[in-house]
């Protein structure tokens, strides 16, 4: 059977779009953002949160004209589900005579579920319960899956190449650290993928038409789209091929109606119909389909999560041993993340509140952070999975503004390196019990040496003593909270750490 032109266009666009946005999430070199960074900003929810009016209008107009093609070619989670649905050949279906795309059936719209999910979502959005927003939003779910599951695979493959490259003595590839930023978020991502896989295999676009708030919002407009799938009742022989091919379960072949609120314009029905009864064109008769809800569709099990856990991290440290012989390396002890009374949020996020209100927890900033500073937060269930900073693997380097460049929602606003250099996201606090100057009686000052804003001066502890130990004096008004001091501190735990500021300041 010749593939329908609509399907060819849809599949091509979908594949390019999915690969590009996946690249954006797995890329660690920082080059993807320059080429495909816009794709994250074209996502519906991020555009709404960023008040990106032009993108919102464009997407609404797109839907008004073509129907919900957004769900088929722009939304990465939608495309991912289409791919996952193909797995049924191996797993689900034992009847070999059944062909792909001929296994679904019509089911009425489950309005109560759809609308209650949308209401829950809007309430969560307004009330600032970021974790619920992040769990329901399609782009966030995809981001979690890409950042937590796809990225490590990509990096692993890169590291194999990097080893080869090192053996060959060239610099084509370099090694990157693969580490779990948060165990709970990893578990949530894996469960999301598992549930989506099951739903996609059994019911096609079940998630998109029952849970997804973006799908529901677009459905209000797609009902009135100019171009849509139209039934020619005269040609239809009620064979049910279209209903079986419809992954959105929205074609009622008996009544010759299509539920345009759920149709994602995939075109599979056009190909399935052997009689030319279905066409994607301007409607001859504009008739709103009426559906009645009676049966309960397969409802997705609620993704259980709860965020409490320590990060798996490793970092430096050393035990100071008396040197008696030559050679060898001192053991390095793990450095645990510092306990902070106020979490640190990235420069550009303005305040903890601004971040919480705008972030969809898509993990893009976390995946892109080249200094291993950002990770999903797990302390507060309201803002769970939104980015938070810690400095045991690196610090917020002065030249880097990558998270602010990639953030699609404006939760981390674009910031220049110069602006960042004067943005105070926190301040350093010295802990005398830990400082090696006092515990090991050595000269140090590594914090002062590495402070990019010269906020630390080494001063004598006792002014009267000529050989008094020199301790770091932090000028809080100059400190921007970048964490260089915390990262290079030889003590375990660090004798100097950064406390976040709820509202960022300017120095």
């Amino acid at each position: 059977m010749k593939t329908h032109w609509l399907i060819i266009i849809r599949r091509t666009l979908a594949l390019v779009s999915l690969l590009a946005i996946t690249w954006l999430f797995v890329d660690f070199t920082g080059s993807a953002q320059h080429h495909v960074g816009f794709l994250a900003k074209w996502q519906f929810l991020p555009a709404v949160l960023a008040l990106n009016v032009s993108v919102i209008l464009a997407l609404l107009l797109l839907t008004r004209v073509f129907g919900r093609i957004y769900c088929s070619v722009v939304c990465p989670l939608g495309i991912l589900q289409d791919l996952l649905a193909h797995l049924h050949i191996r797993i689900g279906n034992t009847n070999k005579k059944k062909k792909i795309g001929h296994r679904y059936s019509y089911s009425p719209e489950v309005k109560w579920l759809r609308y209650s999910m949308l209401v829950l979502f809007i309430i969560a959005l307004v009330a600032g319960v970021g974790s619920i927003v992040a769990l329901l939003a399609p782009y966030s779910s995809f981001g979690r899956i890409a950042a937590n599951l796809f990225k490590p695979i990509y990096e692993f493959a890169n590291n194999i190449l990097a080893d080869r490259s090192a053996e060959a003595g060239n610099f084509d590839y370099y090694h990157v650290d693969i580490w779990v930023r948060s165990v709970p978020v990893l578990i949530i991502s894996a469960s999301t993928l598992l549930i989506l896989t099951i739903l996609a295999i059994l019911g096609g676009r079940t998630y998109c038409n029952t849970i997804c708030p973006v799908g529901t919002v677009l459905s209000f407009i797609s009902r009135f789209s100019l171009l849509k799938i139209n039934f020619d009742a005269d040609k239809c022989r009620n064979c049910s091929a279209c209903s079986k091919a419809c992954k959105a379960s929205c074609i009622d072949y008996k009544n010759h109606t299509v539920d345009y609120s759920r149709c994602v314009v995939c075109g599979n029905c056009l190909e399935a119909c052997k009689f030319g009864a279905l066409k994607y064109d301007l409607p001859k008769m504009h008739k709103l389909n009426k559906e009645q809800s009676s049966t309960e569709p397969s409802s997705p099990s609620r993704r259980a999560f709860l965020a409490t856990s320590a990060m798996l991290t490793t970092a430096v440290v050393t035990t100071k041993a008396q040197k008696t012989v030559d050679g060898g390396l001192a053991a390095i002890e793990p450095k645990a993340p510092a306990k902070r009374s106020t979490p640190i949020t990235p420069p550009g996020s303005l305040s903890a509140k601004h971040l919480a209100q705008h972030c969809t927890a898509c993990q893009l900033c976390i995946a892109q952070c080249p200094n291993h500073v950002l990770r999903p937060s797990t302390d507060n269930w309201l803002t769970a999975m939104q980015p938070v900073m810690s400095y045991e693997r690196g610090y917020c380097r002065p030249e880097c503004t990558r998270c602010s460049n990639v953030c699609p929602t404006g939760a981390i606003r674009h910031i220049s390196p110069e602006e960042k250099a004067s943005t105070q996201i926190g301040h350093a606090v010295w802990n005398r019990e830990q400082c090696v100057v006092l515990t090991d009686a050595v000269e140090c000052g590594n914090c002062a040496t590495h402070c990019p804003s010269q906020a630390i001066t080494m001063v004598p502890l006792n002014l009267d003593e000529p050989l008094s130990p020199m301790i770091p004096a932090v000028n809080e008004s100059r400190c921007i909270g970048c964490g260089a001091c915390e990262y290079v501190c030889p003590a375990r735990p660090s004798a100097i750490h950064v406390e976040g500021h709820e509202v960022h300041g300017v120095i």
Partner: protein
């Protein structure tokens, strides 16, 4: 025949000295003294295909010109899951094989220390050598009482007794006061000058006198010292020799074609080899040579320098030049080389079987090469590991090695206007992460200074690490993805 050789060599020696004298007026006075001074009493036999030997006038030991330095012993591969601070085990089987090969091919001088190879060198050396006739080899080891805890009489005596046990011998052929001229800190952390350090290690505890007693008792056959650093200590010890207070049977110095004139200019607290050698030569004290290859730095040169050396002698390796240079002066008893791999051993044995001395022309040529290497401003680290372990986990030699490699490969660019800047930046930063784990890089140096007192090259290690760290920071701030 022996006589002819003797004459030839003597003539050659004079030629060589006068050649060098042209290059330096400072040298000139040293040469005149050397030439007018007493004969060193050192002699050489050479015939085609067999090792060149030199005679130690004190004990008439016939010492091979190539000495085996047991400081860089071969290691077994580490288990893959081993943490990076877990040291690799030494490959005793390979050590035995290499020692056997060395003895078979005429090498008979083995130099070790209680501090080498994380304190295991003497044991490995003892195991390998005890399989052979005690008369067939000479053992050199050292009084390596560097840390204040080993400065007491008892601890230092025990160090010597332990050396005998580890080496499985009842006498030491060559015993050295290890690395005089360095400064240190005492147990309370007070800075001691180089002379105070010498006194604390050897005089206040009476160990030097005790060692002289051991020599009289036959447990030590030759007593000498190795020197790095402050030349005042070197001069003072030689003055004692002149006064007859102590007699030095041999002295170990650093000598190679870079240090001949440039040691002082690379680091003002070092002394040019031409002076050190001259002082020994005029007293007839046999010189044992260390760092003939500067820890391999004279083998790892830029492509331009490699091309020049190869053009002049295409049939031999680049390292051969350095060994020929170090072995040429007649006052040299033996040239130590820390040969980790069999191929180094085979090559060095070949270089000295027999020695083809450096001619006047070649000497001048090598001085030009030295000038070029000096001009590159590499960190003069020979990766001897004396500074390690750093208490804060920094891998000092690996950082210097990477930096030097980048200088040699032309990857250090001062200006980002340089068209090759991007490539150089990428190569430096990626190579840095490959060579040194992040947490062992220069930014983790706190400047405690423990390393600096141990560096035989007198490198200001914290200063150099901070300089490299600043360069890395500059590269990183240049921004943009790698």
């Amino acid at each position: 025949m022996t006589n002819m050789n003797k004459q030839y060599n003597r003539r050659n020696f004079i030629k060589y000295l006068s050649g060098a004298a042209v290059a330096s007026s400072a040298m000139l006075s040293a040469c005149k003294k050397a030439m007018s001074g007493e004969s060193s009493g050192i002699d050489e036999e050479a015939s085609d295909g067999s090792m060149t030997y030199r005679i130690n006038p004190n004990t008439n030991d016939r010492v091979s010109l190539l000495g085996y330095g047991m400081m860089r012993l071969p290691e077994l591969p580490k288990p893959e899951d081993a943490p990076d601070h877990q040291p690799a085990e030494f490959d005793q089987e390979m050590i035995n094989q290499q020692v056997d090969y060395a003895l078979e091919h005429g090498v008979n001088y083995f130099d070790t220390s209680p501090a080498y190879c994380r304190g295991l060198s003497e044991r490995c050396t003892g195991i390998a050598l005890s399989r052979h006739d005690r008369k067939s080899y000479y053992i050199a080891t050292k009084m390596s009482n560097f840390w204040p805890g080993s400065w007491t009489t008892e601890a230092s005596k025990e160090m010597f007794e332990k050396s005998l046990r580890e080496l499985q011998v009842d006498y030491i052929d060559y015993l050295l006061l290890h690395a005089i001229g360095g400064s240190s800190r005492d147990a309370d952390g007070n800075q001691l000058s180089s002379w105070e350090t010498f006194e604390a290690r050897y005089m206040n505890n009476g160990i030097l006198d005790w060692l002289v007693e051991q020599k009289q008792a036959g447990r030590i056959r030759n007593l000498g010292f190795s020197y790095h650093g402050d030349v005042k200590v070197f001069d003072q010890l030689l003055q004692w020799h002149d006064e007859g207070r102590y007699h030095w049977d041999f002295v170990q110095i650093e000598l190679n074609y870079l240090d001949w004139f440039y040691a002082d200019e690379i680091n003002p607290s070092n002394t040019d080899a031409v002076y050190l050698y001259g002082e020994l030569e005029k007293r007839g004290i046999p010189a044992v040579i260390m760092e003939p290859l500067l820890g391999g730095r004279l083998a790892r040169v830029t492509d331009e320098i490699a091309a020049k050396l190869k053009q002049r002698d295409p049939d031999h390796s680049i390292a051969t030049w350095a060994f020929r240079f170090a072995g040429t002066p007649q006052g040299v008893l033996t040239v130590l080389s820390g040969m980790t791999f069999m191929e180094h051993l085979v090559e060095n044995v070949a270089t000295y079987s027999p020695l083809h001395p450096i001619s006047d022309d070649e000497h001048e040529f090598l001085m030009q090469i030295a000038e070029e290497i000096f001009g590159m401003k590499t960190v003069p680290c020979n990766e001897c590991q004396y500074c390690m372990p750093c208490p804060y986990g920094v891998n000092i030699p690996a950082i210097f090695s990477h930096y030097n490699k980048c200088i040699r490969d032309g990857y250090i660019k001062q200006s980002n206007l340089d068209p090759a800047y991007r490539t150089a930046r990428r190569a430096f930063l990626i190579g840095y992460d490959r060579a040194v784990p992040r947490l062992r890089q220069a930014d983790h140096c706190i400047g405690c200074g423990q390393c600096a007192t141990h560096c035989p090259q007198q490198i200001d290690i914290p200063g150099e690490l901070h300089r490299i760290d600043e360069y890395v920071e500059e590269l990183k701030r240049a921004g943009g993805p790698l």
